[in-house]
Symmetry: C2
Subunit: 347 residues, 2 copies
Amino acid sequence: MNITDLDTPTLVADLDVLERNINGMAALCDQLGIPLRVHTKTHKVPEIAKLQVAAGSQGITCQKLGEAEVMVDAGVDNILIPYNIVGKPKLKRLTALTKRAKVIVALDSAETATGISQQAIADDCVVPVIVELDTGSGRCGVQSPQKAQRLAQQIMKMQGIDFQGMMTYPSNLRAKPFIEETLDLLSSDGIPVNIISGGGTGSEAASKEIGCTETRSGSYVYEGMTRIGNSEMLTPERCVLRVITTVVSTPTPERIIIDGGMKTFASYPPTPYGYIIEHPDAKIYGMSVEHGHVNVSECSHRFKVGEQLSVIPLHQGMTSNLHDELICVRDNKVEAIWKIAGRGRVK
Amino acid sequence: MNITDLDTPTLVADLDVLERNINGMAALCDQLGIPLRVHTKTHKVPEIAKLQVAAGSQGITCQKLGEAEVMVDAGVDNILIPYNIVGKPKLKRLTALTKRAKVIVALDSAETATGISQQAIADDCVVPVIVELDTGSGRCGVQSPQKAQRLAQQIMKMQGIDFQGMMTYPSNLRAKPFIEETLDLLSSDGIPVNIISGGGTGSEAASKEIGCTETRSGSYVYEGMTRIGNSEMLTPERCVLRVITTVVSTPTPERIIIDGGMKTFASYPPTPYGYIIEHPDAKIYGMSVEHGHVNVSECSHRFKVGEQLSVIPLHQGMTSNLHDELICVRDNKVEAIWKIAGRGRVK
């Protein structure tokens, strides 16, 4: 089937570009000497995770336990979940998953650690964990090297839970003093550190420089318009995803309406929501739930109802999460249809 | 099962409030003397559509063909699709659906009408249609009564397509001259008008006053924080939906992190993203993909990791579209689990 025969709106990935991005990041990390642990939240597709592992990634990262379960079901066996696992239902799922694959989880409190420890004891397993450092995200993470040390000390006293190291977010040069001071404090306690996890896309060199043992790069796999323009190398041709849309209305000479809105693209600000490949001078200036509103006043082309337009979405991960399937094309021919199996796995 | 035993984040509906909202709108429309054709895009749940029809709605509205297919599969047999159906794959699906249920579609161009006509002739059926008027939406719709007349004349000459009337969006008093002039022009041509479809929630009286034959009210079914505060009658107790979340991190005294972010709530601006029922003075000030960032500096309560918080989401329809299931509760006990069968049906 040709790409132009697809019903719309539909999410399409160009496999040539996908493979180039995957191999390019693998080569960059090889060159820098930092192991890659790809973050799969961008795509949520087991087939893509396996391509990334085959290209050299030492494992994967899943943002939620439900996404990790999907990946283990598909045969991926080394997963970091950089998220506090809290509450009885999830703790039971975590210990069950631990018995099927190598699963490392991040945490930032004694409460989370205690929950994991108690469930692991009950279920007769050991869960490897790392402590999350808030190196500037203003989100989760312990707030100081002293708090990281204190939490590591508490974990070392617990059963069923195995302290493995730490993770940073974000991962940049400003994180270096936090990491080094934490390492010094842990060293003085005789607590070994095996993992310092950093990331993501664009911070590989910095992660190496601040001493990380791996990088959780994720968005590179698709690339997106948020990074396009930041570098000469990043052009629309580097972007894997397209939402194929159809013009459904041409109500005025200045405005056309396409059949994808916030339910197709994610209502992620800021505008222009996406980049129209065939007509970059046509600007998506607004979206309602099922309609995209496009200003064509700068275009010499006269748009017709029924015409298809290929749009690079602004936020690749959020857009992927709205679609059940990824239509994979090569030279504009459909080669495969992959299920976005991790879509909606928020638990 | 009790609501507090649910794994989180999860989308919950209070059935008592749902029934009250459904019955309240049915009573209002009865009193105003305007038939109701509920818009189901807010919930996308066949069970709820059937409750609305049982309460007196003369049919339903689905924003996309795929949502209509789901509703017909579930036994709903009278559906308006206020959307231009364009392209061969969709036209074939439309004629197939027309043979299973009464399906009316809106359109705003001769191109859309021609496509429907040709497919209907090929498939030996007749599709009833209405013309969309742009009465101020700045989206789809013909731009003048003269253009509405011209399109109606064109449709009257086509086979396989049956002109039934018009629809307005938005539906307010400013739309009255547009409608009346169109009616006059069609009357002078001897073209009968059976349907003038208006909507939605909050515009029922205006729709009656401008001559609409039905109102496509939708968001009333859940009510949401965008309307709360606009009227004394609209309090959080009128809102059906809650996202049950868990506190997963308490990194600073001012900040807590909950386990739902943009993938759970929809990244629909503006802030504060949602209303925390147990602690209205805790403000969700930011969201990343899987985390909600909450400012608790105004709260006397000391939040703990593991605590559950019930959040009324800001945009009910977009949030529903992110979840596969709706957990239905009464008096905080789970009574049913309904599939959000129309989720993701963007085609």
